[in-house]
């Protein structure tokens, strides 16, 4: 729900010296700033994780996201001028965020990077990194598809020029070792996405695998495969109730699960600990959250969790 105005709480003072006293419960005020527009299925789970953690620890979290690095960096600047007690940033485009993150670090605000950007995290002065880059997840998906016997893969990009999606496809290319073709669709228009995937399958019958990067597109891909009578296997990133059901029915092979809930939960935990107790987990080494895979074997267990938005 709506968090209370942070303008007032910002006065809690610079948190650079998190009082060497006993861990004070609560009172933290953290900003989570990601590179995805709100409403994105993957990042929504991250948000849920962060908010659940906030509730647990009695801190406030404000979640913001924008795919445009310029606007993302402005959001970081805003958090700095609001004197947040900690900032969580996903770094799809580290170069662009360097300056703003530097500003936050200079202002003594602890920063934790999540998802992508593990290799630059320490350089920028973040206290730790949670999650791993999209390439790793993509590579995992590629390997899974290879194991399923896919030789020619169609990687469906639902947002042209999105860095994260591009990295997933690149990773899949590496993991698969075969041919990967790309297709661009619009996630806002699933009917169109379906028929585009179908068109590709119709005109190139040698394609025997489809990798969707979003659960809604996965459903479209499944329909397209069914419509055209193609025998292509479908893999996807991220979960939804429909995707889990489809996995159970054997219509979708697997879903890559980065357990991104943790990418929301853990940083808030770490920041709370840092604020209250100056802890840094693992001495700043990256904490991996995945990748996990949801397949027919374990789909039943996660079905409900996916429905409620924590997986």
């Amino acid at each position: 729900g709506c968090s209370s105005g942070q303008g007032g709480q910002g006065q809690a003072g610079p948190s650079s010296a998190p009082a060497g006293t006993a861990p004070a419960a609560g009172g933290g005020n953290f900003a989570v700033i990601t590179h995805a527009a709100s409403g994105d299925a993957f990042w929504d789970v991250v948000k849920n994780g962060a908010e659940a953690a906030a509730q647990r620890y009695g801190v406030t979290v404000s979640y913001q996201g924008d795919g445009d690095p310029a606007r993302q960096s402005q959001l970081i600047d805003q958090a700095v001028s609001q004197k947040a007690d900690g900032i969580v940033v996903s770094m799809a485009n580290p170069d662009a965020l360097k300056e703003s993150i530097g500003k936050a670090v200079t202002a003594g605000i602890p920063v934790i990077t999540i998802n992508s950007g593990a290799d630059r995290s320490r350089e920028f002065g973040a206290i730790t990194h949670v999650g791993q880059s999209e390439d790793v997840a993509g590579r995992g998906a590629g390997e899974q598809l290879k194991a399923a016997g896919v030789g020619k893969l169609l990687c469906v990009i639902h947002e042209a020029g999105n860095v994260g999606l591009d990295q997933r496809c690149n990773g899949a290319t590496e993991g698969l070792g075969g041919t990967v073709e790309r297709l661009q669709v619009d996630v806002g228009n699933l009917a169109d996405a379906t028929s585009k995937i179908a068109a590709r399958l119709q005109s190139d019958t040698s394609i025997d695998g489809v990798l969707a990067l979003n659960p809604a597109v996965a459903i479209a891909a499944r329909d397209a495969v069914a419509d055209t009578g193609s025998k292509a296997g479908v893999g996807t990133f991220d979960l939804s109730g429909d995707v889990v059901a489809a996995i159970q029915d054997g219509e979708i092979l697997f879903a890559v699960d980065q357990q991104q809930y943790l990418q929301g939960w853990l940083p808030i935990t770490f920041l709370t600990l840092y604020k209250d107790n100056l802890n840094t987990v693992g001495g700043g080494l990256p904490v991996n959250t995945g990748p996990g895979f949801v397949t027919k074997d374990n789909a039943a267990q996660v079905a409900e969790l996916a429905e409620s938005g924590t997986r």
């Binding site: 409403g39 994105d40 849920n48 169109d192 068109a199 459903i219």
Partner: protein, 343 residues
């Protein structure tokens, strides 16, 4: 024409009379695009291929026709795309979380859509603000509502499970089923699209309401002066668009059985593009429903044709842009030829 020919009329062949219709230019554009892709890809011109590119053209076409009416009436609606998502979300949430039968859920969604259309129209008519801005406001607000309410009610950004709701099979058959024809499955939505186009054409050309639509778009002040109820006409147009959004939203929700909170986002311009390719003037007062439908076909063909032709995905939008420009140019050339200097 029973009157004797005027000596000041040069031979006005049927051909020229036809060419003057706003949509005939679009037909030529469509033929050009079809011929181009048919020569590049065999699948494109196969029955299955046609069924394929007619599928997205159908939902786009329904919206494009409604938007065309609105544009002829001199207004825009940027909220129509998101509204397809809103109606779908309402239907799915009511049917799956509150146990409504699908027809009831759909009626509730229709009522909500009409309310949005009514408010759009009312604000535009009352405040005199450009509809571009007003519906941009509703667009943004609906986008927020779609996401906020869905999250609040379900904890996720998409809701599904419509398949298990009461009355699903019948509703799906009526709106989202398929019809086998010539060995390929055509979507029922194509029939709805044809129906909407025919109805809109009838209203535009053959009823008083159609006359009023042209008039309020052509010159609102003048139309008011001769007693056309301009305000009511515009509000009705906004509600028509909202109704079309409901139809499309329902078709998609029934077909995919789940709806994302950001469904329909970004489609609003595609509708306008289709209407403009089909010969609608952005300034209002001119255009046709059939034209908008053909615009939707052109857009659908170009969009899918590139995929059929197997061109590089990175360059997709480049080809799409070039296609659109060429189609509109072809359209324009034909119109120029037909109208000559008429400005």
């Amino acid at each position: 024409m029973t009157v004797a020919a005027d000596e000041r009329l040069a031979g006005t062949g049927l051909v020229r009379r036809l060419l003057i219709r706003p949509e005939l230019g679009a037909v030529v554009g469509a033929v050009v695009v079809f011929a181009f892709f048919a020569s590049r890809s065999e699948t494109f011109r196969s029955v299955a291929g046609v069924a394929n590119w007619l599928d997205p053209a159908s939902t786009l076409g329904i919206m494009a026709v409604a938007i065309a009416l609105l544009m002829i009436g001199g207004e825009f609606d940027l909220s129509a795309g998101v509204l397809t998502g809103t109606t779908g979300l309402i239907t799915v949430i009511l049917a799956t979380r509150y146990g409504f039968a699908i027809p009831v859920a759909m009626l509730a969604a229709l009522a909500a859509a009409l309310l949005v259309g009514f408010l759009n129209g009312l604000i535009v008519v009352r405040t005199g603000l450009p509809s571009f801005i007003v519906t941009l406001g509703t667009f943004l607000m609906l986008q927020g509502i779609n996401l906020g309410v869905t999250k609040a009610l379900t904890g996720t950004v998409q809701v599904g499970g419509l398949r298990r709701a009461e009355g699903y099979e019948q509703a799906r058959a009526a709106l989202a089923g398929t019809v086998s024809l010539g060995g390929a499955d055509f979507r029922v939505a194509i029939l709805w699209w044809l129906g909407v186009t025919a109805l809109a054409t009838w209203v535009l050309m053959r009823t008083r309401a159609g006359n009023w639509i042209f008039a309020v778009g052509g010159d609102e002040r003048a139309a008011r002066a001769v007693g056309v109820p301009a305000g009511r006409t515009k509000i009705a147009l906004f509600m028509t668009t909202a109704g079309a959004a409901w139809l499309v939203g329902s078709i998609l929700a029934l077909r995919f059985t789940s709806v994302q909170a950001n469904a329909g986002l970004g489609q609003e311009f595609v509708y306008i593009i289709a209407a403009v390719i089909g010969g609608c003037l952005l300034t209002g007062g001119y255009g046709s429903a059939v034209g908008a439908s053909i615009g939707a076909v052109i857009f659908g063909m170009a969009d899918k044709g590139i995929v059929f032709a197997g061109w590089d995905a990175d360059w997709f939008t480049f080809f799409l842009g070039a296609m659109l420009l060429l189609a509109t140019l072809a359209n324009r050339l034909v119109r120029r030829y037909a109208e000559e200097v008429r400005h």
